[in-house]
C-alpha cells in the first residue's frame, strides 16, 4: 500500500504507524463538557464498513501526523491531510 504524503509524496505504508479513528482530534473540554461526553470521546468508536477518517503517524519519515480518509472495505485511500491542518480547520489553536 502506498500513502501519498501531502509533503513528501508517495511513501510505502510500512513507514507509517496506525493509531485509529481521527475523532481523537476533537477532545472535549474535560472540565466543562461533562462526564458523558468525555466517556463517549474516550471509549466509543464507530466501526464503519466504508469511508473512515483515521490517524496515521509517519514514524519512519518526518514524524508528521496525518488524517487519512480510507475505505475500510476496499482499502482505497481518497484523501491524505496533515493532522495539524485538519485540527486547525476544526478551530483548534495548536
Amino acid at each position: 500500500m502506498i500513502i501519498h504524503h501531502p509533503i513528501l509524496g508517495p511513501r510505502d505504508a510500512q513507514e507509517f504507524v496506525y493509531l485509529g479513528d481521527a475523532n481523537l482530534i476533537d477532545r472535549p473540554d474535560g472540565m466543562t463538557a461533562g462526564v458523558e461526553v468525555f466517556h463517549e470521546y474516550l471509549y466509543q468508536r464507530t466501526n464503519p464498513a466504508g469511508e473512515h477518517q483515521e490517524l496515521w503517524y509517519h514514524e519512519q519519515g518526518d514524524r508528521s501526523w496525518l488524517v487519512i480518509t480510507r475505505n475500510t472495505v476496499t482499502h482505497e485511500i481518497t484523501k491524505v491531510e496533515l493532522a495539524r491542518d485538519v485540527a486547525r480547520s476544526r478551530g483548534r489553536s495548536k
Binding site: I7, L8, D12, Q14, E15, Q60, G61, D62, R63, S64, L82, R84, K94
Partner: protein, 186 residues
Amino acid sequence: MASLMAMTALGRREPTTVTHGPLTITERTDVALASVAARKGRMADLAQAAQAAGTPLPGPATHQRGTPYSAFWTAPEMWFVEAPFATHELIAEMLKAALGDAASITEQTDAWVAFDLAAPDLSPVLERLCNVDFRHVPDGHATRTMMEHLGVYLIKHGPKEARLYGPRSSAESLLHALETAAHSAL
C-alpha cells in the same frame, strides 16, 4: 580543571575510515550540527532572519549546501543545520544570535554519528539497508529512514556520494550494518 580527551562516536581518538572493496565509509567528526524549528506562527520571521544570516532553509526532503552553513529539511518548519566544527563548535549559540527568537534551536553535534559513504555506485548497498529509492531520487535528496531499526538521516550528494547521520549511541551497530550490506552487495 581536568583535561578531558575528546572521543569519537566509535570510542576512539581519531575518526575511523573503513574500506570495503569499492566502498569507503568515513566517520566525520568535523561537522557541527543543530536543529532549527520555527516557533508557532513565526515562519516568515525565521525565513527573513535566515536569509540575512546566510542560513539555507531548503524545501521538503532536500539538502542545500552553503558556506558556512548547509542545511537539510527534517520535518515541517524544521531543519538540521551543518557547519564546520573547527569554526562553529558553538553552532547553537551562533544560530541563536543570528536567528533571534523566531526559532527554537537545539545543539545536535554529539547526538549523532556522521558517516560519509563513497563508492562508484551506492545503490546496491543502500537498497539493502533502507527503502529509499537511492537510484532515482535527485541529488540533494535528504530524508529520514530506517536502517536496521535505527532512525537515520540519509543525504544523497550524488550517485557516488552520500552522508548518513545515525544515533551516536548506536554508531558501532550502524557501521556493522553498513559493512554487512557492503559485504553482500559489492
